[in-house]
């Protein structure tokens, strides 16, 4: 269903572009913005940079080690690829872009927690705190305005995301014996969709020449993003052939982050 919608949006975009091209007025030789189209086309080749998560203080008080598991995320990769945008009269724009973002929580505190909880066991390589990634097609609504050779574009972004992560499972081996503990953290999503919301500002510099049909526009994008999630976590561990200790906890998060990316795109005059 999601893919179907995407195909329809692409078809409509291409039709609009085609319409704009077919109905264009005689070309005006200009190094400035072309004002001869009602609709201008913008292609974003890539956006790449850092996602800087903001800590959610309430996560510090979670039980069963989930505070160490979820708190203190670190800076990770964020970016976008192949954005296609249409701008009405060079100002109002809608864009679809493939957007992705990695998240991971620093492992050190969680490893310490597990070591302290099971002191006579070897800590395996697989012990790591929460790690996941978001990716999918995102949609942007923006307004573009210009000052000299700079273009400023505040925008709102909505993403309907795939949320991919690794379920935490590791085995702790006891010192001096074959005995071991299997430790699992599993989670169940309580929301129908993982939506992300982003408010951002792109500042672009415009390279252009009168004979060029496209402006080349590198720039910088700064955005504030939240991704509300609601998961039921089940934390369980058991020794071989022994009954498991099972704990459950519901955790709602906003996953706020500042994203700073460099942008390279082209804007059809």
């Amino acid at each position: 269903m999601e893919n179907k919608n995407l195909i329809w949006i692409c078809v409509i975009f291409l039709r609009c572009i085609s319409y704009a091209q077919d109905n264009k007025l005689p070309t005006i030789d200009s190094s400035d913005f072309a004002k001869n189209h009602k609709v201008n086309f913008c292609f974003t080749w890539f956006e790449a940079g850092a996602g800087i998560p903001l800590k959610e203080k309430k996560l510090q008080d979670l039980p069963y080690g989930m505070n160490h598991y979820l708190y203190s995320p670190k800076t990770n990769l964020a970016g976008g690829l192949f954005g296609i945008g249409l701008y009405y009269k060079n100002h109002w724009g809608i864009t679809v872009i493939y957007y992705f973002q990695d998240y991971s929580v620093s492992d050190a505190n969680y490893k310490n927690y597990i070591s302290n909880q099971f002191p006579n066991y070897y800590l395996p390589y697989g012990v790591q705190a929460h790690t996941y990634s978001l990716n999918n097609i995102n949609y942007r609504l923006s307004y573009r305005f210009h000052k000299n050779r700079f273009t400023f574009e505040p925008q709102f972004q909505l993403g309907l995301n795939d949320y991919n992560d690794f379920e935490t499972h590791f085995v702790l081996k006891e010192e001096g014996s074959n005995n071991f503990i299997e430790y699992d953290i599993k989670k169940v999503n309580q929301k129908k969709n993982i939506l992300s919301y982003q408010a951002a500002l792109i500042t672009r510099y415009r390279f252009t020449k009168p004979q060029w049909k496209w402006n080349i526009e590198p720039g910088l994008r700064i955005g504030f993003m939240i991704v509300p999630t609601n998961y039921n976590y089940t934390i369980s561990y058991n020794s071989y052939n022994m009954p498991a200790t099972v704990n459950e906890v519901n955790i709602k998060q906003l996953n706020p982050a500042i994203n700073i990316t460099v942008v390279l795109g082209a804007f059809r005059k």
Partner: protein
């Protein structure tokens, strides 16, 4: 408009061309021997004597393997598959192990193939996989050996001598068998 069509065409072509199929190379298990292993540390190691703590005892199976069918392409990415599947594996002791396991009765339920509860002997037989491939500097080799550990998870109540026998059956009708003597304390 033309540029957009070219771009979309390139993207579609890239999607179709970027993946190629890897065919695993085939090897055959040609021999098997057993030694004692102890697992008191982080990972198992071959025991230096025949006296091993019963809580940390493991049987080390050394499988001798030979290459049967090499495949083209990157050996690392192609991977390996055993030519003949494992269809049976039985562990038993020549002496009485405990009250419910007299001599020569199967001890399969007392052993795991790795330290996780799902790694039972039955699971190994169901997978049919035994042994594994080996590469030297990224290239195929003609013969090599790999190790498979069987961890004793339910040690006997009493200390004493045991003779464990491991017998494996392969899908081509061959069977291999070896015995290892140990004193568990």
């Amino acid at each position: 408009m033309k540029n957009i069509h070219i771009f979309i065409l390139c993207a579609i072509l890239f999607c179709f061309c970027s993946c190629s199929k890897h065919i695993p190379a085939e090897f055959e298990v040609v021999g098997m021997s057993l030694t004692n292993a102890e697992n008191t540390g982080e990972s198992p190691s071959e025991a230096t004597t025949n006296n091993v703590p019963k809580q940390a005892y493991a049987i080390k199976i050394i499988l001798n393997e030979e290459m049967r069918k090499k495949t083209e392409g990157d050996a690392q990415e192609n991977g390996f598959i055993n030519e003949d599947k494992l269809v049976g594996l039985n562990i038993f002791s020549l002496y009485s192990f405990d009250a419910t396991h007299p001599a020569k009765t199967s001890l399969n339920d007392y052993f795991l193939t790795s330290l996780k509860s799902s790694a039972t002997i039955n699971a190994l037989i169901s997978s049919g996989v035994i042994g594994g491939g080996s590469l030297k500097n990224g290239n195929y080799t003609d013969s090599w050996s790999t190790n498979q550990y069987l961890y004793l998870m339910t040690p006997p109540a009493l200390t004493g001598a045991h003779s464990f026998v491991v017998k494996i059956d392969l899908s081509d009708g061959r069977s291999m068998c070896d015995t290892v003597n140990v004193t568990l304390y």
